[in-house]
Symmetry: C2
Subunit: 676 residues, 2 copies
Amino acid sequence: MKVNEDIQRERNKCDFNVEELTNYLDGGVEVTRKRRELEIKVLSVKGLLDEVPEEYLSHKEKYENAIRKAVLFFKTIQKLLDPNHSEMERARAYFGSTIASAVFKDNSPFSLHFSMFIPTLVGQASQEQKKYWLKRAINMEIIGTYAQTELGHGTFIRGLETTATYDPKTEEFILHSPTLTSYKWWPGNLAHTANYCVVMAHLYINKKSCGIQPFIVQLRDENTHMPLPGIKLGEIGAKLGFNTVNNGFLGFDHHRIPRDRMLMKNAQVLKDGTFKRSSNSKLTYSTMVYVRVMIVKSMATQLAKAATVAIRYSAVRRQSEITPGAPEPQILDYVTQQHKLFIAVAQSHAISTTANWLWNLYEKVTKDIEAGRADNLPELHALACCLKAVSTSDAASMVERCRLACGGHGYMLSSNLHQMYGLATAACTYEGENTVLMLQTARYLVKEWEQITKGQPLSLTMSYLKDKSLLKWDNSVDGIIKGFQKVAAGKLASTVANLKKYMKSGLSPEDAWNKTSVQLVAVSEAHCRSVILSTYKAEIERTAATLSPPVKNVLNQMVQLHAIYWALEKLRDLLLYTPISEDDVRQLQRIYEDLLQKIRPNAIGLVDAFDFRDEILNSTLGAYDGRVYERLMEEALKSPLNKEPVNRSFHMYLKPFMQGNCDCGLCKKCVEIVLL
Amino acid sequence: MKVNEDIQRERNKCDFNVEELTNYLDGGVEVTRKRRELEIKVLSVKGLLDEVPEEYLSHKEKYENAIRKAVLFFKTIQKLLDPNHSEMERARAYFGSTIASAVFKDNSPFSLHFSMFIPTLVGQASQEQKKYWLKRAINMEIIGTYAQTELGHGTFIRGLETTATYDPKTEEFILHSPTLTSYKWWPGNLAHTANYCVVMAHLYINKKSCGIQPFIVQLRDENTHMPLPGIKLGEIGAKLGFNTVNNGFLGFDHHRIPRDRMLMKNAQVLKDGTFKRSSNSKLTYSTMVYVRVMIVKSMATQLAKAATVAIRYSAVRRQSEITPGAPEPQILDYVTQQHKLFIAVAQSHAISTTANWLWNLYEKVTKDIEAGRADNLPELHALACCLKAVSTSDAASMVERCRLACGGHGYMLSSNLHQMYGLATAACTYEGENTVLMLQTARYLVKEWEQITKGQPLSLTMSYLKDKSLLKWDNSVDGIIKGFQKVAAGKLASTVANLKKYMKSGLSPEDAWNKTSVQLVAVSEAHCRSVILSTYKAEIERTAATLSPPVKNVLNQMVQLHAIYWALEKLRDLLLYTPISEDDVRQLQRIYEDLLQKIRPNAIGLVDAFDFRDEILNSTLGAYDGRVYERLMEEALKSPLNKEPVNRSFHMYLKPFMQGNCDCGLCKKCVEIVLL
């Protein structure tokens, strides 16, 4: 098929080696090769791609189709995975690879099996339990999910109402949902797919609370799939996205399970009801951090996809005029459009780079924990909290801006931009609501501030807070990074001062905290921005050293764009907490406008380098060949409404209505017409 | 049904008369009474409300159901409208009343008939044409729509490609779509509903362009509904919202229509092909402005709905802890939550008030035009452009923030928040893409700036630009308004200076304009904010004088909240262009925190006063009785997937897969299992 001329012209003028950048972003030539091999193999399987787009099906049809594909997809990918990899690595490959999004627009009804059920067994089951359950789970003899959130309880885990009461006489736990609000609500796979589940419940032994503990529970008969007695299961209904993920609800009516169904790697219950507490209550943080690192990484992917679609579309779309009389320009030539889109590329690089760095930190801390040192876990947790919140919220708003930058056509589901938004915005509330997470980081920061006043050592990623010197502003990337660090420190200082002022005026520490919480969230964000800015720059410098000068050049342009964009965006803070002058601001604005112009010729190259296959983007506006209008029409013609020239509703409703062949007592044949 | 205790407690502590505020917001006691009467009558009609929520139907079923309801709804409401009202007023009542959203979650497949087809006939048809066509349209003998946008052409009307070539021999126009990109694309009703259409096409007479003109075109046979020869029609496919609106595409293959099908109120074509130009080419602006005023008003409604849902939910939802050991607080007690939500109420008031003011201005200008004076039309147009852009973008982002403030449950379609977002965000790109509109206002502002330097008089709403004095900052509402005016003037001045600097450095005026366009958009926004701020305050003062002190008090609190919120939000500008000090900022932050606390007890009263019936809100989270969890469960049980305990996909796919009764060569029975 012919490639759109405008987009071909863009490719011709790109001044760096796109393949080289792809390899760099993938993490090496070999990673690119393997990824492509996997993609080609998956896409060669008949029946994995939808012929009629999912959006035309009914809710029930969507689910049934997704189950069919999930089985087929699992079988396909299972064959392709490296059997020498650990179960965690294979689980990640299964649910983390971008090829899955070519098959499932939302996600698969098996996704929680891999992303939560198996990792929880790995992290919380005893060796003996693992031997039995993990094997069954990996072989897909059973399908599981993870049920924590309840109808009335989310991020605040201590509020969970589901109870597990130990009965030493029968050596069983009695699972119970005492209220409507205690019903488990939201877990993917849960409604009609899973037959097992890890349930988080409040353990009671002899009427004494033993905290929230994990239990593995059989939900459905393995042969008939009927819910077991004492178990109420169902689907929670339609959502903004994730409609094929089969989110469900779950209630227990004094449902009994054997003692060995509590996952006992950490805490334990002995036969006689003796409770053995976990050695370190913070250890469960580790799984949470793992999931959040995965989320940060996936946000970079959603953002890269949206940027690819919007930038390719903007190279093809011609609209309005810059110079009177000249042909309509590509909308990518409008500086307002460049302003909306180029940052999405840079932000994707920034988030991805920071996620990789966070992953290394996570691995290091995990090793430390295994060696008995959990000192760095709180810092890692504080970092993961704000990075999860900021990356999801940035991704959601920038993906949406990419969609809006495509004008009306972005509103078509065939653009697939809405889907990317649905996945990004969901992450703003799941796995810890963003505002709550930001306040958790703020709490850590305020504690660190107290350390400073006491002259005590700080966590590594927060040591910059001590540094008070910034006498002169400087518009370089390093200058901006220093500025953001100064902002974080300045905001933290003034917020702590306000907090104290409120306490002095008579508020309790808790009420003072609440009253300054809008400022505290801003402190957290400022810290997070400074971490992203400095990590992004440092990691690019560290990892891009051996690249060719043109690729290094575009990578550095992205670093600079990211820094200046955020400096202008957060100018309020820079004006308040740094010595930046009006002249500096004017110059910065000008550098920004020049930089957009420098990036412009490489814009298509930059998104081509993300190397998303058309099947993965799944977008009429963003395909590699730029045949935007042809694809829009081809997709439209797939609508079942277009299979007949006249819909039956004309004969049933419209014709009798317009021609008055009815006895409604209201329409033109039935009443006197009010003439004009 | 019992009302939730928490929400009842909120109502008990509200310190103003909710009914009085409702009457004020409606525009009078009588307006409230009539609105409620209409609502009750419509809701008493059987078959207008869906038993199975629309989201569970297939795309085709949704459309057929919508047509059924559209006919029933029209018949119902037709009977209830005042026959003494003009056709425009009745059309507005039909498509503008909030009760329609109880029937159509998106909108009706007749909506364009009333919102565009009839108004265009009123505005563009000659007296003779009106007599025939308007009568048929109002009696619903025909269903029409309005086709302007094309697959490749949107906001830039001059770019339209559809041609209408006059053939004087047969006295016909030949309509033609020369390219794929010239296909009409997007009009509501067009795909399978309308049988007539106003088509905007490029008129050629003797190969000479005579501009873009409107034509009324029959699309389908009135008896069979088959598309007429030379006409290609279809649906454009699924979208983020508006899925029952039946948006369509339309192409012509040398399709001939008689000469009298051009709408000839303004320009005319005589039999011999003589073209008579319209007396004022700006007159067509008038309909555009009308539609934009309607959009601004409807944004206030979407925002009010979202605020109602999110604030009621926040009074019911309890989560986490403020004081250790105390019961979980209502999330409305969190200051971060108040910060997210209260501004939505104030912004809804501000937009609604400004829309009413703009409507009066529109009526005044329209009367002037009828009297031959069109001088104020450009100013009105510039105002409508930026107000449409800012109100839609504010509404979209604040509706979305309300949704996110409901945590995970906001992601459920049964919250209906996503629907409100879909309607608000669509308005950011339809009827003029927002960035393009902002730049149109900027162009007008730059012209006005030149007037100032020449000492010439300014348009009324821009005269503040002249006022240079702001020596002292003041945190009062009036002080903030003056500050925003200073910001608009300061930004305009510095952007014009940058524009000139770029020209001096060798750029053409057009390229310099493009290069500063990010700044120009910001200028437009600054102007618009200052107009909204001052109009909102002045109109509340003017219209609320006779209200009781408690109602006046909450209205003024909203005005203050709105001013301070935006001052803190746009602090960057205030710091750059006004004498605001760091101390002022600290004080402002504290006033803001105190104000949230003052508003808190009246929050439920404020949203109750919007007086949306449950059927209109259509939200599990936002119903008057606050039975959030009960409704979530009730709605979930309506999912067709919940009608059977075991979905057939278990037997078809899952069981053979899990139990290995297959010959896939891949699953556990077929291959050696890699043991742990």
